[in-house]
Symmetry: C2
Subunit: 408 residues, 2 copies
């Protein structure tokens, strides 16, 4: 598609009519990091969400589902430091968070999307949030995207912000997004927290359609550790301030919007994978010529999720047998008889496997390829025409370290 698009600064505040803020309210005593984020649209916006598919899910998800049932929202409130999950008073606390924010913002509490991330099963105290909200609302600004991003981070090591500007029917529109990773990251929706804003005018139904389509090939293709979190959420607010002709049916403007949303979420997906807990490398696995779309996706994710392969990538070891092993145990239908594998990076490319058998290759060259921070793994099944790409990271000492004493 001929999409006139460029990357811009500003994160979730790049689209017109959005403000954001992030502050420290004190959810976890003794910590000094920001822990409360707010994204606010000056006008009501079309809203679309996707959520974790974990049967054990956080109270904020229950509350948010109710609030966006009507397809409308105006703000996103998110705390880090506590997941508000598996708590007896969870729904009460999540509802209260919305009520306090609504009062401070002067909007309807049903127009607030609420999210939490952090430890599971410890009661979330409402006091620091209630006490912090006036300052949070006061801090809202059109340059606040970075602060909001910081406030939703847990073990993330860098901020994940993207924004694009693109043209629909001659009218410039913007989409901005922020996200957090980086543990409990696995397919099946949302794999993390991700909040997107856009000033494009689009109906709630078409917005949800774009989101549901795009998430399959972006955030749902990220795998850090195979653990699908209880609190994953991805939301989009579209406030229409770009004044484009409202998108309320399928067609070229809707396709262009969907494509722009895809590019924003693809960037955020790669950032999340690259910043997987303890990761030193981004691994991108593309499976080509699979018999079905489902098989292509499942096999790409299987490779990217293999602990053995991830550890080999950390060790810069071109142990392609682990790629074939992970392809082989993927529980989907395909033929394993004619698989090619190659490994590539900015330092070049090595073909390591053809017809499901090993190829001779230079260990020296392979070591140089694998020394880079971004590794591309190409798997060709020669068994159809479908393709898919998954994003992951290596498995390192630091993953173990981070998760061995996360709670304490």
């Amino acid at each position: 598609m001929d999409l006139d698009l460029r990357y811009i600064d500003g994160g979730v505040c790049a689209p017109k009519g959005f403000q954001a803020a992030g502050i420290r309210c004190g959810i976890r005593p003794g910590k000094t990091d920001k822990d409360l984020a707010l994204i606010y649209s000056k006008t009501k916006a079309s809203a679309a969400c996707v959520y974790t598919q974990n049967k054990v899910f956080g109270a904020p998800i229950t509350v948010t589902r109710r609030h966006v049932e009507d397809g409308i929202a105006q703000a996103v409130l998110c705390n880090s430091g506590n997941a508000n999950t598996c708590n007896e008073d969870g729904i009460e606390v999540a509802s209260s968070m919305c009520s306090y924010a609504a009062r401070e913002l002067g909007i309807d509490n049903h127009d607030i999307i609420v999210a939490s991330t952090g430890v599971i099963g410890q009661p979330l105290p409402i006091e620091p949030i209630a006490n912090g909200l006036p300052a949070l609302v006061e801090a809202l600004s059109e340059t606040g995207s970075g602060d909001a991003t910081e406030a939703i981070m847990t073990t993330d090591t860098f901020k994940k912000e993207v924004a694009v500007e693109f043209v629909i029917d001659g009218v410039p529109c913007r989409i901005g997004g922020i996200a957090k990773g980086s543990g409990m990251i696995n397919p099946n929706m949302a794999t993390m927290l991700c909040f997107v804003t856009t000033d494009a005018a689009i109906s709630p139904a078409l917005l949800q359609q774009s989101l549901s389509l795009v998430v399959k090939d972006t955030l749902n293709m990220v795998c850090v550790d195979g653990d699908t979190s209880t609190n994953d959420m991805l939301s989009v607010l579209a406030n229409g301030q770009a004044k484009n002709k409202p998108i309320d049916q399928e067609g070229r403007p809707h396709d262009m919007f969907t494509q722009a949303l895809f590019l924003v979420l693809q960037k955020l997906a790669a950032m999340i994978a690259r910043d997987g807990e303890g990761a030193t490398k981004l691994l991108t696995c593309t499976v080509k010529n699979a018999p079905t779309d489902e098989a292509a996706r499942a096999i790409a994710k299987s490779v990217i999720a293999s602990s053995l392969f991830k550890a080999a990538m950390f060790g810069r070891d071109a142990n392609w047998g682990r790629v074939l092993c992970a392809v082989g145990y993927t529980p989907v239908a395909f033929s394993a008889g004619d698989i090619s594998v190659s490994l590539a990076s900015d330092s070049g490319r090595v073909d390591v496997c053809e017809h499901s058998h090993g190829l001779p290759f230079s260990e020296e060259k392979a070591a140089a390829v694998l020394a880079e921070e971004e590794i591309q793994i190409d798997v060709d099944l020669h068994d159809g025409h479908e393709r898919a790409t998954a994003f992951g990271c290596d498995l390192t000492y630091d993953y173990v370290k981070i998760n061995g004493d996360y709670r304490t």
Copy 2:
């Protein structure tokens, strides 16, 4: 069942009429470990096998399938150091291994079970095996089980041997087994190499029936890293030398044999889990009161396979939220509304979750419980009557280290 059974020494040589040996033949230059194992029955034996379900599987599996089609075998030949998988000449090499061994043993080459373990995709040289076979056969003895066990080890840190003696119809019978772990370990058959011998007289069909039943609750419930190997194999040889009335139909003698086989494989399963690559702890998760057998198994394995939970156990962190998270993302039907979780070891027991909500507990006591080397995780779903137990281990720095440079 009232089974008169005791644990004895001798491994696969404990049953009458079996010999074993393990030597170094030199498959990987520069290494000094034993790498070639042989188990031999003086008479032909009923044979049963189960194999990896990985679509990419080793050449030895293709050859062994053919050889045990008739339900009869007399010897097991296994090398370590090379998996003979994804090699163009793999089947030829695996067949040659059998031919050389058959000639040296003076038996039919179709009566040999062949297995390989080690790196994938590097041609397995036949010369060291052919040259080593005379010495290997010469070394066969009734005290050779330990040497054979050593010869099949890769990254294992201790030998895994079990033997039992039990009485059927007044006749003492024996079952012995040896196994190797410890990476690429995951459900779906065999999760490793395991060779079992017995002097019980039992028909091939009933032997296969016992094996297929027992493997579901033992070796298939082990998970070290979620990677189902290409070369997993579990075989049983039953040579009838105990002179019991041959078991050729269902009934009490068959049940007793099956129960004894279960106990042998359960011990080996726990040993494999305890010796998972880099592991410092054995984790045993029992799921109770699940709606279906399938759900109980899947949930128990999901907990034991969670990287986040495994890392928490390494860090002695009673982070039970990760248990609920792993329970919740298991793709089976069950209700997640009334889950209890407790953690126990020789140092006591802490109840950490009830009605899917956190319970107050002493962090000090939890730390003491988790300081032990064997941790029991009990999950009660209160949603049915089925139960299952899975075996796993913690995720440690050493797992990453071992797998970061395994091949080099």
